[in-house]
């Protein structure tokens, strides 16, 4: 599942950067990337948003959205009971329709991983096999304000408990103050902490928290930085900061992923998270993916939606397509 042979990672980064990854080489590289024109980017995103997805295409898109969802609960009030309820929903999203696909993963806090793993039981595994993965947020999510040791312990703990995927946050303070080397090192070290006893790795999603990075140029640089440092996915947001995922930001990250693929042949995933609640909006993201990096990216190892309420809206739309009429909020289950 992991994209890279880790041994080659520092070498490739060094080759692209022309030196060891530190503040100087990273700055030279990241600030040498072509800039982003905000008006043009937003115009392109709006243009993609006008695609009209109807009938058979819509039916396909709705099922695909479900298959790409990381069904998420990230509350201080989370309990084993809440997580079991979430897992039940993940496995059987539409109680009235057993043909409804499963979501890709459940996404929980690190201490909830054992309960999620237990609740999934035999259904725990790779979404490619119609199973459901467990993703854990780590590294002092959502702020990332903790020492590196704590972040690494947080990560290792979740992996040891059976997390398949780690959603880490970058140190936005370090990024914004130009300490790119610190951010790079942390991502690379967290990647190492994703290593399991058998030598395989949990997939690493790097959360940029684009709402705090503020400019598209920053988002672009942070995306490159996260990929250079070994992230398997780049993810927009924690969901705890507004704005969370937006279509222009996601489009920009998809463009970075496309360019990385052109440069290295490697496929990196993208995960918009937070704020995507309507099927109509989620379909716009599918369009952006298909028309920017290609349809091949519409699979759980390369694209995810971080969402909670989106699922039920998709289910309502799905029921509408099947039955020809809209039902209501009580015809889909709460978690």
């Amino acid at each position: 599942m992991s994209r890279t042979d880790l041994q080659t990672l520092p070498e490739r980064a060094m080759e692209l950067l022309g030196g060891v990854p530190d503040d100087t080489t990273l700055r030279r590289y990241l600030h040498g990337l072509p800039g982003v024109d905000a008006v043009g980017l937003e115009q392109r995103a709006a243009g993609l948003g006008t695609r009209s997805i109807k009938t058979a295409s819509k039916a396909w898109a709705l099922d695909k959205i479900i298959e790409l969802i990381d069904l998420t609960t990230l509350e201080g009030a989370d309990t084993p009971g809440k997580v079991r309820s979430l897992v039940a929903k993940a496995l059987n999203p539409d109680a009235s329709d057993p043909t409804c696909p499963r979501v890709a993963a459940v996404c929980v806090y690190g201490d909830m991983v054992p309960y999620a793993v237990e609740a999934l039981g035999a259904a725990h595994g790779d979404p490619d096999d119609k199973l459901v993965s467990v993703a854990a947020v780590a590294t002092a999510f959502p702020s990332g304000r903790a020492s590196l040791d704590v972040k690494l312990a947080d990560t290792a703990d979740a992996v040891a408990n059976g997390a398949d995927e780690i959603d880490m946050v970058i140190d936005r303070g370090a990024f914004l103050s130009g300490r790119y080397g610190v951010v790079f090192d942390q991502i690379a070290r967290v990647k190492q902490a994703c290593r399991r006893a058998d030598g395989s790795y949990a997939s690493l999603k790097v959360i940029l928290e684009t709402g705090e990075l503020n400019t598209y140029d920053n988002v672009k640089r942070a995306s490159w930085l996260a990929i250079l440092a070994g992230g398997d996915f780049i993810k927009t947001s924690t969901g705890k900061v507004s704005p969370a995922a937006t279509l222009p930001v996601t489009l920009l990250m998809l463009e970075v992923v496309r360019d990385w693929h052109r440069t290295t042949g490697e496929r990196i995933g993208v995960k918009p998270a937070g704020g995507i609640r309507a099927s109509k909006d989620a379909i716009k993201y599918l369009v952006a993916v298909a028309e920017t990096v290609g349809e091949e990216w519409l699979q759980p190892h390369l694209f995810r939606f971080g969402a909670s309420s989106l699922l039920n809206d998709v289910l309502l739309q799905r029921q509408k397509l099947t039955t020809g009429h809209y039902t209501g909020a009580d015809y889909v289950t709460i978690d």
């Binding site: 072509p34 800039g35 982003v36 024109d37 008006v39 043009g40 980017l41 115009q43 392109r44 006008t50 695609r51 009209s52 997805i53 109807k54 009938t55 058979a56 295409s57 819509k58 396909w60 898109a61 695909k64 920009l252 463009e255 599918l286 298909a290 028309e291 349809e295 519409l298």
Partner: protein
């Protein structure tokens, strides 16, 4: 299935109530023409849409007489505020009937519905709203207090933006207090005829706007008519020249908005993904049937290969097909004649040694179609770098320094528009200062706004449309 083969999403034609036959709109009502009527067809499948009357010299006479009567008796005596009320009413009706107008436009012109729906028709409404606001403020237009209208304006418009060009002509003319005789292009009369119904609905006094359909002879009759005070033309430089000759030595005022061969200059520090979008929008918007299209791409040598590579990838995602499908990016070429010209110039491009690349898209069996095409290795001396192709064909040239970019950009008999792509603000301003073009876009292309004047240098014509400047073309000072 492939997701990218989006299921058909056709815009419904049911909003459009077409008649089988359309007469001339003179003095507030439709009447038969005395010329030989002609068919307007859909360029997407060559199907017959409607039969349209052709105006003879006598019909043009009647239209000009109606316009003169309306000018003398009604429109010139009406207060600016009241003229503004009619224009606001027209603008609102355009919005109310936007869907219908968009369908008519796409059907008759071949442009994608997403463009007629999201660009043409909203701009038409914006133009009428903008000039409606001017109607009672003419004292501030630049001619001092109490400027006067010119009288009867004869207007001839092209087929690329049929309704939008009508709005560009009619809105400022009426706001300034003139009455109008306008001729839509022979291949695209439909939206103007639907617009005539809107004028009736708005209760515009009869004769204030007269719409006469027909071919070149009808246009010539308007231009040469002795009782026309002002001629406004948008179209080819060749016809523009004829009009300038015909008008020379008469008291008629003239504005011409003619061809172009705009340079779209991409510097190596450009925001690359947005520049690619801008290049695409610059030349493939409206199938390249745009006088201000960015048809000459001037790209800095250091990024040439990368830009061309990205451009080809992007062009491969464009959808060519049914103009009424909401997902269509590239519609039909407007006429067999225009398709012939595009093919001819493309052939010449190949013969001259430029390298041709066309997007691989399925061309429908019927109708007039041309795939998005780029020519690389184009030299400044090639015809495809000099002649206006007016189609979805981009010529790619290179430059090494800003000075060379400016020199090459200006090395054209035209001068309508230009684009500059760079992350460096000071360079944009410095280069824009030295480009001889009426409109210069920075990090964008083909953006229009009613408050912004539009017009050309050199063979791209004279006079400005849009903004306060556009108003001046329909006014004279109180003392004049």
């Amino acid at each position: 299935m492939s997701f990218l083969e989006y299921a058909p999403a056709p815009e419904s034609r049911s909003v459009l109530h077409l008649r089988d036959e359309y007469g001339l709109f003179i003095d507030g009502e439709f009447r038969p023409g005395s010329g030989e009527s002609f068919a307007t067809i859909s360029p997407a499948d060559e199907s017959h849409i409607a039969t349209v009357a052709a105006a003879s010299d006598a019909d043009v006479d009647a239209a000009v007489a109606a316009a003169r009567r309306a000018y003398d008796r009604t429109w010139s005596r009406m207060s600016g505020r009241d003229r503004g009320k009619y224009l606001f009413r027209i603008a609102r009706l355009v919005q109310e009937r936007a869907r219908e107008l968009a369908v008519a436009e796409s059907l008759d012109n071949g442009k994608p519905i997403k463009e007629s729906r999201d660009v043409d028709v909203p701009l038409v409404a914006a133009w009428f709203f903008y000039y409606a606001g001017w109607a009672d403020k003419l004292d501030h237009a630049g001619y001092g207090a109490n400027p006067r209208a010119l009288g009867v304006a004869g207007q001839v418009i092209p087929w690329n933006f049929p309704l939008l060009m009508l709005a560009w002509k009619v809105a400022p003319a009426l706001a300034a207090g003139n009455t109008v005789v306008i001729k839509p292009a022979e291949t695209t009369p439909l939206s103007a005829l639907v617009f005539a119904e809107i004028l009736q609905q708005a209760d515009l006094p009869p004769g204030v706007v007269n719409i006469v359909t027909g071919a070149g002879a009808t246009g010539a009759a308007i231009v040469r008519h002795p009782d026309v005070d002002k001629v406004a033309f948008t179209g080819s430089t060749g016809v523009g020249r004829e009009i300038a000759k015909a008008v020379a030595g008469t008291p008629k005022k003239l504005t011409l908005e003619l061809g172009g061969k705009a340079a779209n200059i991409v510097f190596e520090d450009a925001p690359i993904d947005q520049a690619i979008e801008g290049i695409v929008n610059g030349i493939f918007f409206n199938q390249g049937h745009v006088c201000c299209a960015g048809s000459r791409l001037l790209v800095q040598e250091s990024i040439h290969d990368d830009v061309v590579d990205r451009l080809k990838t992007r062009l491969s995602t464009l959808r060519l097909g049914d103009p009424l499908d909401k997902n269509t990016d590239i519609g039909a070429i407007n006429s067999a004649e225009q398709l012939q010209r595009i093919r001819e110039l493309s052939r010449i491009g190949e013969d001259e040694g430029a390298e041709r690349w066309s997007a691989d898209c399925a061309i429908p069996d019927k109708g007039f179609w041309f795939p998005p095409t780029i020519f690389t290795n184009v030299q400044a001396s090639h015809r495809i770098a000099r002649d206006e192709i007016f189609g979805p064909v981009l010529s790619v040239l290179t430059f090494r320094t800003p000075a060379e970019a400016i020199e090459k950009a200006n090395n054209t008999p035209y001068g309508l528009s230009a684009g500059i792509w760079s992350d460096k603000g000071s360079r944009i301003l410095a280069v824009a200062d030295r480009l001889r073009a009426g409109v210069i876009w920075a990090n964008t292309f083909n953006r229009f706004d009613p408050s912004s004047p539009f017009g050309g240098y050199k063979e791209s014509g004279y006079g400005r449309e849009g903004g306060r400047h556009g108003l001046l073309a329909y006014l004279k000072g109180a003392a004049a």
